[in-house]
Symmetry: C2
Subunit: 454 residues, 2 copies
Amino acid sequence: MNSPTAELAAFAAGLRFDAIPEPVVRRAEDLLVDWFGSAVAGHGTRPVESITRFAQAMGGGMSGPAEVIVSRARTSPYFAAMANAAASHVAEQDDVHNGSVFHPATVVFPAAVACAQALGASGPQLLSAAVAGYEVGIRVGEFLGRSHYKVFHTTGTAGTLAAAAAVGHLLGLDARQMQHAFGSAGTQSAGLWEFLRTAADSKQLHTAHAAAAGLMSAYLAKDGFTGAAQILEGPQGMAAGMSSDADPAKLTDGLGTRWATAETSFKYHASCRHTHPAADALLQVMQAHGLKPEDLARVITHVHQGAIDVLGPVTHPATVHQSKFSMGTVLALVGRFGHAGLAEFEQHFQDDATQNLRERVSMALDAEVDAAYPRRWIGKVTVHTSDGRALHGRVDEPKGDPGNTLSREEISAKALRLAAFSGGATAAEMQAAMDVLWQMASVPVVGALLPGRA
Amino acid sequence: MNSPTAELAAFAAGLRFDAIPEPVVRRAEDLLVDWFGSAVAGHGTRPVESITRFAQAMGGGMSGPAEVIVSRARTSPYFAAMANAAASHVAEQDDVHNGSVFHPATVVFPAAVACAQALGASGPQLLSAAVAGYEVGIRVGEFLGRSHYKVFHTTGTAGTLAAAAAVGHLLGLDARQMQHAFGSAGTQSAGLWEFLRTAADSKQLHTAHAAAAGLMSAYLAKDGFTGAAQILEGPQGMAAGMSSDADPAKLTDGLGTRWATAETSFKYHASCRHTHPAADALLQVMQAHGLKPEDLARVITHVHQGAIDVLGPVTHPATVHQSKFSMGTVLALVGRFGHAGLAEFEQHFQDDATQNLRERVSMALDAEVDAAYPRRWIGKVTVHTSDGRALHGRVDEPKGDPGNTLSREEISAKALRLAAFSGGATAAEMQAAMDVLWQMASVPVVGALLPGRA
């Protein structure tokens, strides 16, 4: 191994299913089911339908071996990865890895499932490919660091490598070919936060791009196409261009012993993850003191700088999607309903009561929270009540984090809720799919997850 | 107009063919023919064939309205743009705009021609779309500046916007939709120089990616998909992430009066443009003093920093393509044969005589050359002869620059040479295509340029 990139590529190429500890395999199944719910949740949303229409038009009405989950069409793995990755991120319910501030499922599973369906791969092959994608993408996100995340959407940038690792693993790339795939993926790495300022649709484009470009990079490497040897840490590579605090040691941290896959958090609220610690802290203090929404005169959330960077520009959310990046809206919904789920956003994000409460919420940089971030996402709020008290709420692990995780029952229930909300699949269809997905480690051939269009 | 991005988008959307001065239209035809020669030159090269195979596999053997020039297949505009953009850059003979260090043809024409073929657009529509693409891409390259080019391949990054502008123009986007297309294109902007270090295939991937992503951005905007309003100059936009010396005034410099399209240079040598000024200066001093290759004891090229950044890593070129980024190899071929064309590279880049001469060539940063760059590309060399003289060569405009441009006869001859070299088309096929291309301003419907496969 002559470089961190080479070592990471060799790991992704050489990972054996048998070498993955049992609890990590189980967690990968959890993440797979949780992803599937998010993919179905993309059904019927305008940006996802646009990308899906484009993929189907440019495929010329083709049929193929891979499944577009929101439209039930069958197409090539490239277009299926593109469409499903767009779909999986729109409800803001897909998973997140705290330390890397990276959403692995939405870029890894669309690419891996599409390729597995095209190859007729087995369940264990799909799961080990997914774990390869998670381990790579998370380490790349950690490597790129906080300076990167200030401007770049890490899920879009690190996502190309995560998807390339998963698909490259399924295609049986050797270590050298995997390194070429990383080179091609990293040199297509893209995704800027600027779209948040005008509530544009780019988040769906970022994940679509990452999954499709990563898949393409792996297929090209299989065909002999070469990429930079050190796309990550080289002097004109990703870190040189897009980070000022990159740490190459993070690329290979604990490879094969530390399973970053199992550190991934599930999302309980349907909003940007940066709002969750404060949301849970508010819930904690309201429950502890029996507060009602009208008791909340002012809520100060004590946050890390990353929350201010991402959520700060969103002061007057105009759309449901934008409101998921509004700290005030999220806390208002939690204050009013105890949970900020898809239905709460859809029905109540612009209520007078929500807007009124939203304006009483502010963010303040907190030294303890900021120092712990991104390894730990601590939630702290100060509530000034209308009768003049100052109360403090705190959670050390928001719901969905590894130490406060969701059970299989909670994950299934969440997926069913998402499907019912979007109308993307019936309860019976979801149940049938989940019966397979929960047993992925013993599935002989990965097939379609939902029935095709009649 | 509330921002430079908005103003640039409005220009690209609103440009009328009648408003383009006659000499600029003629120059656009010159650039079109010159591009076509470069696209045909990509035939049979391994990286281009890989990308073309991928496009055809993921299109599921579909047929479509757009032409893949190297394979004669017909596919969707998306895959045609991808494959033709890969093809157009591999021979290193496509055009370049000095001030932006941006190669417009290889990203603009593949996207514009594919879309024009799909829509059945007219020649004037294609030409005004191309001019829109050139004007936008060049200004984005100038805006991103020298700091950007140190790490990023500007043709890949600015190229997404150039392609989006051209395709958006053909699709009839209004100013607001064009701004959305720019947002989607800019947030997919990518391409790192790291691949040069190991002579990897990424340059072809960068142009393929830029053309395809730009085209996709324009089609999505037509369908209502939104992008960031200020993707270029916004606080989390392209410049914030990828430049430290960006100047927003460059985005709108002389829009509608200064025609950057006509400032574009043709390539005479088949190598990286950074080698051309020195190559011409060497030729000048050799001709002035009647020097032979064996007279050249040492050649010092006095260059700008960008040349050192891009060419410096290439000390021992192992492939024909890499040798085009070796200052020593280029000057050795010029010294030996008077021209560094495709045939000279292919047959002689590894000759003992070439390698021997290569080792006698060095680069030194020159204050005058560096200060003039990138607006002017001055060539200066000092030759130490084997009989002890120190001679100086100089050119102020390398051959192919606007003040020292190629005639239509020279452009046609170059295209015929490229086709003959690659075997991508017969002389008769090239002649028939060029008969149409030279008259593009009066073509009623843009069709296929070459006969389809039997």
